[in-house]
Every structure is written in C-alpha cells, then in structure tokens.
C-alpha cells in the first residue's frame, strides 16, 4: 500500500531530481498550466475538496485558508514556511533538496488561487543547500517563462523569492515569520488582525507549509477524489513522516495518512535499532505529548487517531525512543531547547521556560526533590494558553506528558540522587 502512495516523494530517487528537465519529464508544470486555465475560486475549492490539511503541524484545511484571503484590490502575498525547526522534523528539507520544482509549481497554483502576484519561501538560515536548490529551481522556472511578467503567456504576473532566516525556532510561527521577513525581530504578533487581513508589509497574506504547497500540483492535476483515495475520511492524502531516534533505518517516508505507527517503525524503518525494545514515541515533533510503548500498539498515523491517543500528529516528526534511554535527561534536553528559543515577549513563556530548564537542570545534577515534579506540572499548566503564540504550549507538552506518564522513573531518579551520567544515552557511535 505504502509503495503506491508516492505523491510528494515520487521523484526523489531519480538522477538530477532537482532539475527542471527531470521534473518536466514526469509531467511537471502541467498542473500549474491547468490551474491558470481555471477560475481562482475553483482552484481553492478543489484543494478544499481534496481534504488537504496544513502539514506544518496545525492541520488546518489548506483550501479554507486560501479562501480567507480578501477579494479587494490590495496586493496579496503567499509566504511558504520552510523554517523547519521543530526537533525531529526534517521533511521539508528533502522536498527542497530533491524536488524543489514541486514546491515552485505548488506556489504558482496557490498564488493563482489567491490572486497573489508575489510569494516568498522563508527557509531557515542553516539550510544552505535547500536554499540554493529552491533558488536554482526558481531561476529555471523564470527562464522557461513559468514565472515572471506573463506566466505561460497568460498575462498573469508572478514573482517568487527565497528569503533566508537566521536561526530562531520561533520564526516557524506564522506571525513571527512575517515579522522576520520584514527585517524585524521574530516576535509573534497578537491576532487579530489575522494574516489574511493584515500580514506581511501590512497586506493580505497566507502562510503555508512547504509540504502542504507541494501536495497541490497532484491535487490539481488529478482532482480531489484522486487525492482522497489515500488516507482516511478526515485525514486525506499522504504525509511525509520524518523518523529519528532508535530505529535501524531513520529517514523521511511517505505513507498514506492512517498508516500504522508500528508498521512505520518495523517496515519502513526496518525495526528498532539493534533489536532494542520500544520505550516511547514522540509522534509529531518535540512539542507533542510523548506516547508510551503500550499506547503505540495499534495506533494509526492520522490526525484523529493520534488526538484520541492524547497527542498530536503535528509535523509528522516521529522520535523513537528505545528501552534504556533516560527520560529525565531527555526532558532536560527539551526544556533547555524551549528556554533557548523563547522570544521573551510574553512573561509566562520567558520566565516559565527558563524556570523549567532550571528545575530539570537541578534534577539531573542530583539536587532535585519530588516536589519539583509538581512544580514543573504547575508551571506547565500556568503557561498553556496564556501567551501570544503556542511556544509556551509547545514547551509545556513534553513536561506534562513525560512527568505524568513516566512519573515513577522521575521519582526514582530523584530519590536515588543520581549524578548525571556523563554518557546517559544507551547508544554511542553506532550508525
């Protein structure tokens, strides 16, 4: 089943998969040409009918998002969020490296659907190779007349640009990304106004994830029903899952939504690393609640099933954790990350993430008390929902779920007053 379901990754294995000749040879840019022959509203409708949901993490219907754009005469912008920074997520990097034209074609479709004349791809600054690939793809598309003053000779003007970020996780939040593109600090904005009302350069703006945009050429070319053939009723289509941690074959895999998590681990990833036993899985990126091994059994990878299990599909970043891993040290790595990445704008997040990192830091130094666990939970509960953007919730997710589900391990660690083992991870240089 998984083999047939290759939409986003279908060109990845081909030689020179990033070049326009390769893309054109597989019917590339026919969907964009077709879209421009359609009414813009119909393009949005097909994407809505296909059931495509935002692949950056929120899962909001992409077609609906496009329809929010006002129909007045202000200039409109499409921003593609390629600020892939959620620990565990590395799928957009592969789209940009291996098939940047699918992204460019998707941007043409999205821009036509929303009647935008300019689009920016905001790529995290560390991704130099993906940035170069996307820029080269844009240049090739201009040379063919697929971008520019009259694309495909239609009279429709569209310019696409690449914008390089500079190292800030929070810029993956759409209003922070907008500020960052404007050359400001990446502080998220208070909503309303929402980006379609007033976004980048104070104009109507839609921000979409790379993977969401890259899925649209298939949808336009083959229709909503063809896309709905994959996945479940409410989670249509295929999804890229980036799997890391204790598996034999980590990487990016495209499977239909609803695919069993244990099949992803045992088939695509060729099982647990060196035969380790499964301890836990973080299913959708570091901010999504951790699942115990028991909770993973029989679990399917779609938005609804994972929500029912108490976590989130998120960006599809599956972090697999084997037996023997110290979850106390693991949680400290994550609290340290969120404290580092809080933009500092909202007090509950700025103070809360720092305090959390101090508390987990104290615990791993062997100076923790069992009451610190309750303090951590209380902090997490007081941060959630009290800030401008979801970074505070993202920081609270692992704290709440790690401590609630693995409380015995945390208490044992504290009671034994362990000094941090200089090598707390069960796996060394084995790759």
């Amino acid at each position: 089943m998984a083999d047939e379901a290759k939409i986003l990754s279908r060109n990845w294995g081909k030689p020179d998969s990033h070049k326009i000749e390769t893309y054109l040879a597989s019917g590339g840019y026919e969907a964009a040409r077709k879209a421009i022959g359609m009414k813009p509203a119909d393009v949005c409708q097909v994407v809505l009918d296909a059931g495509l949901r935002g692949r950056g993490g929120a899962g909001f219907p992409t077609g609906r998002k496009w329809m929010f754009m006002p129909k007045d005469d202000r200039p409109r912008y499409l921003l593609v969020n390629a600020d892939e920074g959620e620990p565990g997520t590395f799928k957009d990097r592969d789209i940009m490296r291996f098939d940047p034209h699918m992204l460019v074609e998707g941007m043409i479709i999205a821009c036509w659907g929303m009647q935008a004349n300019a689009g920016y791809v905001y790529v995290r600054g560390e991704f130099v190779e993906p940035i170069n690939r996307v820029q080269a793809a844009i240049d090739e598309a201009y040379a063919k007349g697929f971008l520019g003053d009259s694309i495909f000779g239609s009279g429709y003007k569209l310019d696409l640009y690449v914008h390089r970020g500079a190292g800030a996780y929070v810029c993956g939040e759409e209003t922070a990304l907008i500020n960052s593109l404007e050359g400001k600090k990446g502080n998220p904005r208070i909503r309303p106004p929402f980006p379609p009302q007033r976004g980048v350069f104070d104009q109507p703006t839609t921000v979409n994830n790379v993977e969401s945009i890259a899925a649209t050429p298939f949808i336009i070319a083959n229709g909503a029903e063809a896309y709905r053939k994959f996945g479940t009723k409410d989670s249509a289509g295929t999804k890229l899952f980036s799997v890391s941690g204790h598996v034999n074959n980590p990487g990016v895999f495209e499977v239909p939504l609803g695919y069993p998590l244990m099949d992803l681990i045992n088939v695509e990833c060729k099982g647990m690393l060196n035969g380790m036993r499964l301890k836990a899985v973080i299913p959708g990126g570091s901010s999504t609640p951790i699942l115990t091994a028991a909770e993973c059994q029989g679990l399917n990878l779609d938005y609804e099933s994972i929500a029912k299990a108490g976590s989130m599909l998120g960006s599809g970043a599956v972090i697999v954790i084997g037996e023997g891993t110290c979850l106390v040290n693991s949680l400290h790595v994550l609290t340290h990350f969120y404290a580092h990445e809080s933009c500092g704008q909202c007090t509950p997040c700025r103070e809360g993430t720092g305090w959390m990192a101090q508390l987990t830091g104290k615990i791993i130094k062997g100076q923790g008390k069992v009451e610190d666990l309750d303090l951590l939970l209380s902090l997490a509960n007081n941060m959630s929902g009290n800030t401008i953007c979801p970074l505070a919730d993202a920081a609270a997710g692992p704290v709440k779920s790690f401590i609630t589900k693995f409380r015995a391990e945390f208490e044992q660690y504290i009671n034994e007053r362990k000094e941090r083992n200089p090598s707390p991870w069960p796996v060394g240089f084995k790759n």
């Binding site: 565990g88 050359g183 970043a317 040290n329 693991s330």
Partner: protein, 159 residues
C-alpha cells in the same frame, strides 16, 4: 566610518532590496553580507548596515542580536556546530561532541589557538534522521562517526 562593503556586495544588496517593497526587509540579507565581508557582525558593522538601509543602529542591534546565526564576536575560519537536541542525543551526539572537543582541544564556544576552528553546541539543525550531525560553515556533515570526524577535520585543517 571605516567599514565599507566591496563594490560587488553593494551591487548584491541593491538587487536584494528590489525583492521587497520596504527597505527593512533587506536587513537580514544585509547582515549576512556584512558577516561575509567583515568576518563577523560587530557594532560598527551594524551601524554601517543601518546607514545603508536607513535604519537606526539600535534597530539593527535589536535584530542582529535576536538571531543566533549572526556572529557578534569573531569566530574561527571554520565554525563547527554540533547539534545537541534530543534526536541527535539519542544517537550519541554527546559522545560525538566530546570526541570533537578533545580532538580540537577546545570546549564549547572556544576557538583553537591557530584561529581555525570554533566549536559550538547548537539546537536542532533539522537533519535528525542522519544523526549525529554537525554543520561546518555552510555544509552539513551527517551520520558522523569518529573516523568520519577525523577525516573531515584533517581535510579542513589542511585546507
């Protein structure tokens, strides 16, 4: 003001400015050019960049210090950044960092005496499936092993 972009850099910045309807949007690209031209983004460089885009030095300082990729202090010829987030740690990032640290004879944030290497622990670099990994200047090095690290560092040391 002593600092000035080269002629090519000035042309490059003009082309970048044309991509945006407002001048400030060119600030991040301009800071990257400054880092390339001057080695790092000093206060003087920030002031110069501000003068090119019509922005106050304070505004540029606020932005430049918000983002981790602008080096406010001089770094070695090669900036070695080892990813230390959870997916990498599960695959031995800590051991790998310690190995590199011992090999170069420097701790986190330090530069080797010959000015060639600066070593840093960093947060997620988005290549978790090929952990442990590091970034040296613009390039990613993935699925690291001690032997691979030896080879990479030796090649860079002689470059």
């Amino acid at each position: 003001m002593a600092l000035e972009f080269s002629a090519e850099a000035k042309t490059e910045l003009e082309a970048i400015r044309a991509k945006y309807p407002v001048a400030q949007a060119a600030l991040l690209p301009a800071l990257y050019i400054a880092q390339r031209e001057f080695g790092h983004v000093s206060l003087e460089a920030m002031e110069y960049v501000g003068s090119l885009l019509g922005l106050s030095p304070a505004r540029v300082l606020g932005v430049a210090t918000f983002y981790t990729m602008f080096n406010k202090e001089a770094v070695g010829k090669y900036l070695v950044q080892v990813c230390m987030n959870l997916p990498c740690c599960l695959r031995g990032a800590e051991e790998m960092f310690n190995y590199i640290s011992k090999k170069l004879g420097v701790k986190n944030g330090e530069t080797t005496k010959d000015g060639k290497f600066t070593l840093m622990k960093v947060e997620c670099l988005g290549a978790c499936g090929s952990a442990p990994m590091m970034q040296v200047n613009d390039d990613y090095y993935e699925n690291l092993t001690p032997a691979k690290v030896d080879e990479i560092l030796a090649r860079l040391a002689n470059a």
